[in-house]
């Protein structure tokens, strides 16, 4: 039936959607090709915690039937997607990478899932993640680590390593991630893919199991900037069920990705995010990409954000404080695991035994840090002071955006590191997010996109592009222009250079 078959999994969402609209290939064929790919490679990669084989085929058939009946379908109809296991999907296991939720099937859809269904996207399954999104490597999943398709000995980033690995391994052209301190962008950087953290409040958090409510944001993961834009447009927009959802029109990210013209755009290079502490190959590829931006007609200036130096410290007080409160809901009473309920023990004892058995090391560490930071006597010195630093970081951004339309930095200080290297060294692990964290504290929008392979290890490097709140379209304008120039130079997307699995 089709000339595309055989390499359906190598195609972008845009190309697949087009081919389906033209009748060159059916949604069922596209879905089956990806499910086959998952059976073939996911034993090695372990991107998925749960695969929806029969259900996905059923949804795809429904799309084909409706298309055959002449119905007009959306731009992503029939395109497969991998969903991070932190978003609820009715009747489908949602574990957040934790034993405490093993086997739990939520009785409702998150708004993101509701919108994906409305867009006729075919959800292939739930992807692995650091437990409750706490981590930068996906090693803190209770279900074992995900492996980087570029090198199976290395981490795929985190917390959304399952989502980034799924698209890098061609198991799905699209994925949903969530980003609290970099969990979409850092995985994108280390897997050579594109990831976007929308403006805080841009995508509904309803049905997103909360880590830190003032920082969490769901967003698109893809292999191209245009694919990310289409997915962004599908999931974004006001939702009355999330009181922090922004009641304003979604910036036209698809038009921006199509325009891809950055002549005259002012780009601010953040002085504090680079140099010392950044791997040589990361700095090299980043600098080369900055030159490309200049060649494309952008005006690059240096900006200074002096308080970013304190962002990591502020973040690791604010996040644990919010997380320790949010995770109090896992008490073994209404859902998930319950341990030690022998008819004799009290609710308090059962709770403590349940949480001890159900949570992993990183979750316990952060809950205790948060409990400490919020306790009376320490509150002002820790949590209160961190909130003030948050204000200063937001002001740094505001000043920088007076001088520039977007800001840039390397997404992560290093390329993908080896599994096991930092798993029991919390501070070393936290440093992976040093460049992404300030964005979450201020609520801005940011993208990571691939800018090459580090010469010393042949692993992907990402550039971070940051826009003011509700100017998400600028990310796509700049990202698409840079991507086009780099693809022209390389002759293909960077991901095409990943070794065969």
């Amino acid at each position: 039936m089709t000339t595309m078959e055989g390499d359906l999994t190598r195609q972008s969402a845009t190309v697949l959607a087009d081919a389906m609209a033209q009748g060159e290939v059916s949604a069922e064929e596209v879905t089956r090709a990806h499910l086959d790919r998952i059976s073939e490679v996911d034993g090695d990669v372990h991107a998925f915690l749960h695969v929806l084989s029969d259900e996905a085929v059923e949804v795809a058939r429904g799309v084909d039937r409706r298309r055959a009946a002449g119905e007009r379908l959306g731009p992503l109809a029939g395109v497969p997607l991998a969903l991070k296991d932190v978003l609820t999907m009715s009747g489908v296991p949602t574990t957040c990478g934790s034993r405490v939720l093993e086997g739990w099937r939520p009785p409702y859809d998150s708004t993101v899932v509701e919108r994906l269904r409305a867009a006729d996207v075919v959800i292939l399954g739930k992807t692995n993640m650091d437990e409750f999104a706490m981590g930068s490597s996906t090693e803190h999943s209770a279900y074992g680590p995900t492996r980087n398709p570029w090198d199976l000995e290395r981490i795929p980033g985190g917390s959304g390593g399952g989502s980034s690995a799924a698209i890098a391994a061609f198991e799905a052209p699209l994925a949903i991630g969530t980003d609290t301190g970099g969990s979409i962008r850092q995985p994108a950087a280390v897997t050579g893919t594109v990831g976007v953290k929308p403006t805080y409040g841009g995508v509904s958090r309803y049905g997103l199991v909360a880590l830190a409510s003032s920082l969490d944001q769901a967003g698109p993961c893809a292999r191209t900037v245009m694919d990310a834009a289409l997915l962004h447009a599908a999931i974004a927009g006001h939702d009355p069920r999330d009181s922090t959802s922004i009641d304003a029109p979604v910036p036209d990210v698809v038009a921006a990705a199509r325009k891809a013209d950055i002549r005259g755009v002012r780009i601010g290079l953040i002085k504090e995010l680079g140099g010392e502490g950044y791997q040589a190959g990361v700095s090299q590829r980043f600098d080369e990409a900055v030159e490309v931006l200049t060649d494309l007609g952008a005006e690059v200036v240096e900006v200074s954000c002096p308080n970013f130096e304190y962002a990591l410290a502020a973040y690791y007080l604010i996040l644990p404080s919010e997380a320790s409160s949010n995770l109090a809901r896992f008490d073994g009473m209404r859902y998930g695991l319950r341990v030690g309920d022998d008819g004799d023990r009290s609710v308090e004892q059962v709770m403590a035994l349940t949480r001890e058995a159900g949570f992993g090391a990183e979750v316990k560490r952060r809950i205790m840090i948060g409990t400490y930071a919020l306790s009376s006597g320490y509150y002002d010195a820790y949590y209160g002071q961190a909130q003030k630093v948050r204000t200063l970081i937001t002001r740094d951004f505001a000043a920088a955006f007076e001088q520039a339309d977007v800001l840039i930095s390397p997404t992560a200080p290093t390329t993908a590191f080896k599994i096991g290297e930092k798993v029991d060294d919390p501070l070393a692990m936290y440093l992976n997010d040093v460049a992404t964290i300030p964005v979450n504290l201020a609520g801005n929008a940011a993208m990571s996109l691939p800018v090459g392979l580090a010469p010393e290890d042949g692993l992907p490097v990402g550039m971070q592009v940051i826009a003011p709140a509700m100017a998400d379209d600028r990310l796509y304008l700049v990202g698409a222009a840079l991507e086009r120039a780099l693809v022209d130079r390389w002759g293909h997307l960077l991901i095409e250079e990943a070794p065969d699995l």
Partner: protein, 98 residues
């Protein structure tokens, strides 16, 4: 200088309802100390007159129309409960012996 002792970690674990083992207490006490000393850097910033930010986008109270809407499906909620009896969540006793 230590920011936190093993005994304090034990107290924190109790507050956080985590029944940690002795090995865990030994392990976490050192790690939490390192983390807390690191994050204490926030105190280096002179921020006395700076207002705190609790939320990136300032929002006022958000209300919806006071219209009834369906809640979650009862049987689906029951299916996810660790224990369910007589159409209710069954929970352990709430009072300790003493």
């Amino acid at each position: 200088m230590t920011a936190i002792t093993r005994a304090e970690v034990e107290h924190l674990a109790r507050l956080a309802r985590l029944q940690l083992t002795d090995d865990e207490l030994d392990h976490y006490a050192g790690q939490l100390d390192v983390i807390l000393q690191s994050v204490a850097r926030v105190s280096e910033v002179a921020a006395e007159d700076i207002p705190p930010t609790s939320h990136p986008i300032p929002v006022q109270n958000v209300f919806r129309d006071d219209v009834a809407r369906p809640g979650l499906d009862r049987s689906a909620v029951a299916a996810g409960a660790p224990a369910w009896e007589d159409d209710r969540f069954r929970v352990p006793r709430i009072l300790d012996e003493e």
